[in-house]
């Protein structure tokens, strides 16, 4: 039996094992491969840098624990950049599994890097509300109407941060960190297009190709695609977070998948020939 024929009968568990080893090794011993920020990541970073200091920004974190490795590094880095500019952040979460996670992620950033930032003054988590696009449109009629209470049960109209965050017109930028539906696509369709609110987005890699046309048309000012986008954003901020640390493993895994595709295409040809 030739090596290629033997490969055709290979137990797929060897591929799983190989993938596991290739991901594990660079996490233990980093290779420190270079990360080069792309144009869309640079514009994401620049758009936040261009916000006036102290402005109130709307950030929608539409994800749940299933997309932590891609979404959480983006959220952390964006919060650090915003708080360095002393911006106030109004957070919404349109995924039912997300509010608790997002609350903890932002609270951790506050505790670790910005101990002076206070809930209700510097940021608020409006929490989850069902309705998807309907919530986005309702927010256009008034943020307080759509969210009478925040995630922690406070009356939103009693929070200092909400005194200057009543409608979309009060925000200079919308940051959408999204893992699917509802998410960036719906924010573009219902809010960017309708209320002309400038918008940047961080999305999962699997959905990123869907959003590049929005960058081309100028509907999105900047875009981060998956862990690579998060790592590029960290690089632009001179940070070394989970995304940057994961990129060596990501690169090796991609080389391995490419190799598997090449070999996989050789095997059936050989079989057909024989």
């Amino acid at each position: 039996m030739s090596p290629l024929e033997r490969l055709a009968r290979l137990d797929r568990r060897w591929i799983f094992l190989m993938m596991g080893i290739l991901v594990l090794i660079p996490l233990l011993w980093p290779l420190k491969m270079e990360i080069r920020p792309t144009a869309s990541s640079r514009t994401f970073h620049r758009a936040i840098a261009a916000i006036p200091d102290g402005a109130t920004v709307l950030m929608s974190c539409d994800y749940d624990p299933g997309s932590i490795p891609e979404m959480v590094p983006m959220t952390r880095t964006a919060m650090r950049q915003l708080w360095e500019k002393n911006c106030k952040v109004v957070v919404t979460v349109l995924w039912p599994g997300g509010p608790g996670l997002v609350d903890k992620v932002i609270e951790d950033v506050a505790v670790a890097d910005f101990p002076g930032k206070r809930y209700g003054v510097d940021w608020v988590n409006l929490g989850y509300k069902p309705g998807n696009e309907a919530v986005m449109v309702l927010m256009g009629q008034g943020i307080l109407t759509a969210f009478p209470n925040d995630y922690r049960g406070n009356l939103t109209r009693s929070l200092p941060i909400m005194q200057r965050a009543r409608t979309y017109a009060d925000f200079p930028l919308l940051i959408s960190i999204s893992a699917g539906y509802p998410g960036t696509k719906e924010w573009v369709q219902q809010v960017q297009a309708r209320f002309h609110l400038p918008m940047v987005a961080g999305v999962t890699a699997v959905s990123a190709p869907e959003f590049f046309p929005y960058v081309q048309s100028g509907q999105l000012v900047g875009l981060l695609g998956g862990m690579a986008g998060a790592a590029e954003y960290e690089k632009l901020r001179n940070e070394s977070g989970d995304a940057s640390r994961g990129m060596d493993a990501q690169s090796l895994a991609h080389v391995f998948v490419a190799l598997c595709i090449v070999l996989g295409n050789l095997v059936p040809r050989r079989r057909a020939g024989s």
Partner: protein, 229 residues
């Protein structure tokens, strides 16, 4: 490099469940089944409680209760129905009733009543989606696709030409009213080429997404659980 295992019991539980799920890569087994069933059960419970406390209570229960007690938002008039003064809370009885009607599906003879709230849901979302697509995708994307082929800058010009050729040939590939032969066949094949590049990019990004999940779990096991430093 040394080990500093987490003293947090919840981290140990999460690590155990992660390993249970990973065990499926070898073969189906009771540990995987246990973790899978636990996940389904906990998720169902979590979503029910979350929806009750963050949706039903603040958006329906509390406003209705306040209305029943005559505590209107507008001091000028007490009572439940004061839409003319900007207080719509009493009218929440209508969506509450529609919501309850959804459950009539569970009772065979009056099951038809569930069609009314469904009609409202479908009507609202059809309207939202149609206007959203028209504004956000159709008009804006056509506008974004109309770009000058000659910009003065060679790099931008080449980009614009490739983009326009790709756009037109890909669109023509989906023109099924004529058999793709001759010049039209060549154009269609060029369109297929552009589509394949798009599919390839999509596949690459999908691999990145899936590998990211694996990396995330390994980072949790090595960092949060074992504390390897």
């Amino acid at each position: 490099m040394s080990l500093h295992p987490s003293p947090d019991l919840s981290v140990w539980v999460a690590a155990f469940l992660t390993l249970c799920i990973f065990s499926f890569l070898y073969r189906d087994n009771p540990f995987y089944k246990f973790a899978e069933h636990l996940f389904v059960g906990v998720s169902a419970g979590y979503y029910i409680i979350l929806n009750f406390w963050t949706v039903l209570v603040p958006n329906l229960g509390e406003p209705l209760l306040a209305s029943f007690q005559g505590r209107g938002v507008v001091a000028a008039r007490d009572g439940m129905f004061a839409a003319s003064l900007g207080d719509y809370r009493g009218w929440l009885l209508i969506p509450a009733l529609l919501g309850l009607m959804l459950f009539t599906r569970l009772f065979g003879r009056i099951g038809w009543m569930s069609r009314w709230p469904l009609a409202v849901i479908i009507g609202v979302f059809a309207g939202l989606k149609t206007t959203g697509y028209a504004q956000g995708d159709l008009v804006a994307q056509i506008e974004g696709s109309l770009q000058p082929l000659w910009t003065g800058d060679p790099a931008t010009t080449i980009n614009a030409i490739i983009f326009t050729v790709g756009l037109l040939t890909s669109l023509l590939f989906f023109f099924y009213s004529r058999e793709p032969r001759g010049a039209f066949g060549v154009v269609s094949r060029i369109g297929i080429g552009f589509l394949m590049v798009g599919f390839g990019a999509g596949y690459g990004y999908t691999v990145m997404s899936r590998v990211s999940l694996l990396i995330g779990r390994f980072q949790f096991l090595l960092g949060d659980w074992l504390g390897l430093r």
